[in-house]
């Protein structure tokens, strides 16, 4: 017995000692101290390849935007989303007929290659107009399968033909001339369009048009999309980055430089927030930007509370601990955290398949049935329960902040009125028996709602909606599935109705109104397959207009025009809630665009006092 105890005891002591030693070694190393000013951001999902032609993923493009640059960018501190030159010297000159855009490029925007594998001296050559022409051609290359091609398809002279030729040959010929992409010299890019398309200007601020250095592709082969060679204020430090865990950006030592917006470039809202203090100062302010990949919301929240992440959108489960009645809780106030609430340029909606026999365009009763469903649903309640109040009911498809949004307009169907809903249902021949809407065939009106999602919350949201339809006698079948299955049903016009969302690609109401445009039927963005020739004609005219009050008026009219037809139930525009730690300076909410880390400053003194306390 004694011997056994001793032996077991020895092993136990040895194990515990080993653990203590290890723990001691680890803690003797101490916390890894940050060097210089570090801006800690997070991404809730893993990043995808850094190929500009396929940079449609929000998180990847946010990261890439700090390293790569386009011809244009959005003014950081303007109240609205205005474009300004970045690699271009000025906004392009536009010909009188609106078809030719001429860009002049800076001669000092140089690629930086930290690996030295592409440009031997690391500081690479300057970006030229040929790089942009090459980049835009890649969007049309059938072998690249760019998910940004839809923005350019049919608009640039000769590019569609070039794409077709590439398809036929099995390989793209980049040396072939494209009429719509001319480079008369290294710093002039001329883009010729086939039709008036004012929105094309925004595409030059989008990641799809970040220039690609061909030498970089040649040097890295197929692996080139795992890294980045850009012209921006930061570069990707691959030695400190860990794939799948964190991406570390360091100051680009060869960056041509830039300045914080001058006072006259700062809008009233930014000024009211005191964001003009750094007006005219040299950029960037922080030495390092770290993107932490944190897929789960709990550790993300804890890292924010511990000062390891500088700002975040409060997760649903932690919302109440941070915000009550749209105000910060005392705990947050004590930490010095600030709350930033802004409208997102987005919309969630239900699409009604206009090809469906029950309520589609071919059914004369369809309109009233769609209107009835709209009236039966309490959007405000949904927002209260599922969004913690972080949304506003949509009146039309255009969100606040964009031209065409009419704050005075009240959608007659965006109101919870089950009595009116029932009346409409009865008007099209249904009778109520035991609370059920029974049709002439003796069957209850049954509709199938398609949605994507596998979490409990998705099911609860679906069942919430079901309850409202049940209340007006409609039997709603909820079909919850994964995203690919859902999308394939929508694309094949098999979904009767379902839930969707759309976020702005650029700050133009056209981006939302196109969801009603006939030729955009699924697999295009119009999930409802709505077709209204009158709308289509007016849409073509309005979207060819230059931005301004006249166009805004047309957009507003178009948005109201489709309300009565109800091909969609426009549900809500979400609000963005951001919690910002007190040492973060110059942060201004931007829903579109990237490359904003260069404007951020970190107050190290405040961080030392407050972080982790």
């Amino acid at each position: 017995m004694e011997g056994f105890r001793m032996k077991t005891g020895k092993i136990g002591v040895l194990t515990v000692s080993l653990m203590l030693v290890m723990g001691g070694l680890v803690f003797a190393a101490g916390q890894q101290a940050e060097e210089g000013k570090v801006y800690n951001r997070y991404l809730p999902a893993k990043v995808r390849p850094f190929d500009p032609a396929n940079l449609s993923d929000l998180y990847t493009s946010t990261l890439a935007g700090d390293v790569m640059e386009g011809l244009l960018q959005y003014k950081y501190l303007a109240d609205n989303y205005e474009l300004e030159p970045l690699i271009a010297t000025n906004l392009p000159t536009v010909s009188a007929d609106g078809l030719t855009y001429t860009f002049k490029l800076r001669n000092d925007a140089a690629f930086y290659d930290p690996s030295g594998k592409v440009f031997k001296d690391k500081k690479g050559r300057v970006v030229t107009s040929k790089d942009f022409a090459y980049t835009i051609k890649r969007l049309a290359d059938p072998n690249v399968k760019s998910n940004g091609w839809w923005l350019f398809e049919g608009f640039i002279a000769g590019l569609d033909d070039w794409s077709e030729a590439a398809k036929a040959a099995g390989k793209a010929d980049y040396s072939a001339n494209v009429e719509g992409l001319q480079t008369p010299d290294d710093f002039t890019l001329v883009v010729k369009l086939t039709k008036i398309y004012p929105q094309i200007l925004y595409t030059f601020a989008m990641p799809f048009t970040y220039p690609v250095a061909k030498e970089f592709q040649d040097a890295f082969g197929d692996e080139w999309t795992n890294s980045m060679v850009g012209t921006g204020a930061y570069y990707l430090d691959e030695n400190e980055s860990i794939v799948g865990s964190q991406y570390v950006l360091k100051k680009n030592p060869t960056w041509r430089g830039g300045t914080y917006p001058a006072a006259d470039q700062i809008g009233p809202k930014a000024k009211s927030l005191g964001l003009d203090r750094a007006a005219g100062q040299k950029l960037p302010f922080v030495d390092t930007v770290v993107y932490h990949i944190i897929t789960e919301s709990n550790p993300r929240w804890l890292k924010f509370m511990n000062g390891e992440v500088d700002f975040m959108a409060p997760p649903k489960d932690n919302f109440a601990s941070a915000i009550q009645n749209n105000k910060l809780t005392p705990e947050m106030v004590a930490k010095g955290v600030t709350l930033d609430i802004n409208s997102s340029l987005d919309i969630t909606y239900w699409f009604f398949n206009m090809e469906d026999p029950v309520w589609g365009a071919s059914n004369p009763n369809g309109k009233k049935l769609r209107q009835a469903v709209w009236l039966s649903y309490d959007v405000a309640k949904y927002i209260e329960i599922f969004d913690n109040g972080r949304a506003v009911p949509a009146q039309t498809i255009i969100p606040p902040g964009l031209g065409g949004f009419d704050p005075a307009y009240k959608n007659p169907y965006q109101t919870y009125d089950p009595a009116k809903a029932k009346k409409l249902i009865q008007e099209v021949g249904y009778k109520y028996v035991d609370g059920k809407a029974i049709g002439p065939d003796g069957n209850q009106l049954t509709l199938t709602y398609e949605a994507s999602g596998s979490e409990t919350l998705d099911r609860e949201a679906g069942e919430f909606r079901m309850k409202y339809l049940n209340d007006v006698g409609i039997k709603m079948e909820l079909n919850l599935q994964d995203w690919p299955t859902f999308v394939s049903k929508v694309d094949e016009h098999q979904a009767q109705f379902g839930g969707m969302g759309w976020g702005a690609d650029y700050p133009d109401g056209q981006n939302f109104l196109q969801l009603y445009y006939g030729p955009n039927a699924a697999p295009g963005p119009s999930s409802s397959n709505y077709s209204n020739p009158d709308f289509d004609k007016k849409f073509q005219v309005a979207t060819a207009m230059q931005p301004g009050a006249a166009r805004d008026k047309q957009y507003a009219e178009l948005a109201r025009m489709v309300v009565e037809d109800a091909p969609m139930l426009v549900e809500r525009h979400r609000l963005s809630y951001g919690l910002v730690n007190p040492w973060v300076k110059n942060r201004f909410f931007r829903d579109i665009g990237a490359g904003y880390s260069k404007y951020i400053d970190i107050d190290l003194k405040i961080k030392a006092e407050k972080a982790g306390k």
Binding site: M1, G3, F4, T8, I11, T15, M19, M22, G23, L25, V26, F27, A29, Q32, K46, V47, R48, P49, D51, N54, S56, P142, K145, N147, G148, W150, L151, D222, E223, T225, N226, I242, V243, G244, S245, Q246, H292, I293, I294, T295, E296, N298, P299, L302, K303, M305, N306, E308, D482, W483, P484, T485, V487, S488, D491, D505, P523, G524, P525, G612
Partner: protein
Amino acid sequence: MIHYVVRRFLNLVPILFGVAFVFFFLFNLIGGQKRFLYNMLPPKGRSVEQIEFYRHKYGLDKPLPLQYLDLVKQMVTLDFGKSESTNQKISYLIAKYVPNSAKLTFPAFAFEIIISLILSALCAYYRGGPIDKLLTVFSVLGMSIAMLVLIILGQTILAYQLKLFPISGWTRGAGQIRYLLLPWILWVAVSIGYDIRFFRTALLEEVHKDYVRTARAKGVSERDIMFKHVFKNAMIPILTYVVISIPFLLTGSILLERFFSIPGIGDLMVSSIFTYDLPVLKASVVVFTIFFVVFNLITDLLYAVVDPRVRLS
């Protein structure tokens, strides 16, 4: 012995054929092709042409038997190409991620087994007494608490409030230990309950056998009884339990990898399921199959070492 080992390795080929068939059958049964294709497409700007492009790229336009043979070829040659999500070579991903998972699970497993053996030996020795009862209660408690609950509690209390460990993250080199400590502790905490219960049972089965009574009657010390006889005989079921668990070490750390942001193979596998990253899914199935077969073989070999009655033939 060598013939036995060679024969077992050769068995891997038909096993892979079988695994390929089951994978292929299930994948097509659940409509995986369509899901996979549609997952390739962006949320905006989808087109029928893109669907056909990817269908052709992955050979999904070939007849089903040819698709199956392609799959078998990939599994046997271990050539799966690139991840569709990250465009990185799968061999690169496996080489990068498997060591991270191994660093997370193997040491934790070793601690778990050592601690469990010690505690279960105590239970067996002091069977029926207060120590045995206390440890039994502790085991049941450990078995009742879900890993997810422990992770959240661990991160919130131990990491955030008490600042004993980092909340999450990863790094290179020796600094990784800092980020592994809390996951190791949580792993051990959630696992030892099961182990103690099992090991205790295995030991007690031996303790009650006639040969132990005989040895005691002959004056053999308790230490010798426990370590020379009981332990050795209890090793066979314990060994089976331990070795069979090893292949699962790689996939069993999914929660820890996700919550602690450790780039491991478990998280990669789960992500590939959600993103329908077919090349990664196939590679994961094969890697796991090979691991399982190899560790089954190791189990059998160890049996022969531990139990002289076992002859490999």
